[in-house]
Symmetry: C2
Subunit: 200 residues, 2 copies
Amino acid sequence: MDHGLQHRKKLAAMRRIQDAALDLFEAQGFDAVAIEAVAAAAEVSPRTVYRYFGSKEMLVIWDEEDELPLSPLAAEFAAVDPVTLLRGTFRAAFARMDEAQLRLIRRRVALVYRHSAIEAAYVLHAHRKSRLIAAAVGPLGGDPFRTEIFVHAFVGGVIGALRLWCHAGFDSPPFEYIDRALALLEQGFDDTDSKRTDPS
Amino acid sequence: MDHGLQHRKKLAAMRRIQDAALDLFEAQGFDAVAIEAVAAAAEVSPRTVYRYFGSKEMLVIWDEEDELPLSPLAAEFAAVDPVTLLRGTFRAAFARMDEAQLRLIRRRVALVYRHSAIEAAYVLHAHRKSRLIAAAVGPLGGDPFRTEIFVHAFVGGVIGALRLWCHAGFDSPPFEYIDRALALLEQGFDDTDSKRTDPS
DNA sequence: CTGCCTTCTGGCAGTGACTGCCTATACTGA
DNA sequence: TCAGTATAGGCAGTCACTGCCAGAAGGCAG
């Protein structure tokens, strides 16, 4: 990637701005904090905040890792089934994180589910990301419809899993929740057996 | 429900406002139309538009049917498995519609997927609705985690299905897409068999 | 029909997110 | 060091959205 001075300074500034924003949002609430206050706390101009993040919600949603390229993922997709791949990808991503990064995730997730404006932007962001993955991968198993639905269902599952993780007070490692969600998607939701325990 | 004159006039006004809004959004694009223009076209004040719809996106998302109570759904949930219930609910909802209602749905769906601001609000709306359903139903099959994930995955699947329906030019009845998505969720995404056609 | 009460609509003023445009400044490559 | 280019900051403007208050209209006795 680009390792010029400009790019490094920009990333440093973005980290500083996001950190200041999270502090303020946690202390006063998302709606009560104006962009001007974030800019002042991070010692940049409001205009720069918008140039970097595009919207107020992105101050919470933005993740440095999101800018990594997608192509290695596509290469692996050919080898294994999608569930296995996504499970592996998520496990690897969380295993690679140190405590500081994990803390950042927790702060952001907590804010996402506390403010519906952020949640809306986040859910859309996740869906867009998932469609990128689906597009990079191409028709999986020959059926584009199946791929599309799987990816959307997967995003829905992850969102539900993260919500439960958040509401459980971030008690256990997040990938345990993702794993359980993936296992459920894998086995399907056909309840015709388990529901027929006694009726009729 | 409430059948007072005030309530009927309000509903009529909302229909008129939404219709005017859809006309303008289709002609000029969502961002290019100010609320003031919608209000003028529908012959109400801008303040009233906000009082009725709350946000600009809701002009597209709002559905009169959404205000129906949820309790009958909860009653049926006890009897059949969730997939069957949701399939039946969607089939019934679409079957009940006349051509005018179906046309309204198509207009709204097309706008949802053409403008990301609307899409974000719509996806969040769907997730909130699904959580309401999950809450009304309670722990399904004894596992609240499973219920939560299923509902989220279902919403994700429906969103993907409607997107495909839209991009296919609204060619066939929408519930065919929903049906296919539900069938995929039901059978699960375990690909370990179908992928082992020749590798290794 | 009439008057009273409740509820709703419309206008006004204000906040704050977001955007184009221009200038000053900081990086970059020779 | 010096041109050339990319980037940050400031300014002004648009527009979504929100309280607040006065006036209009529906609802309900009598």
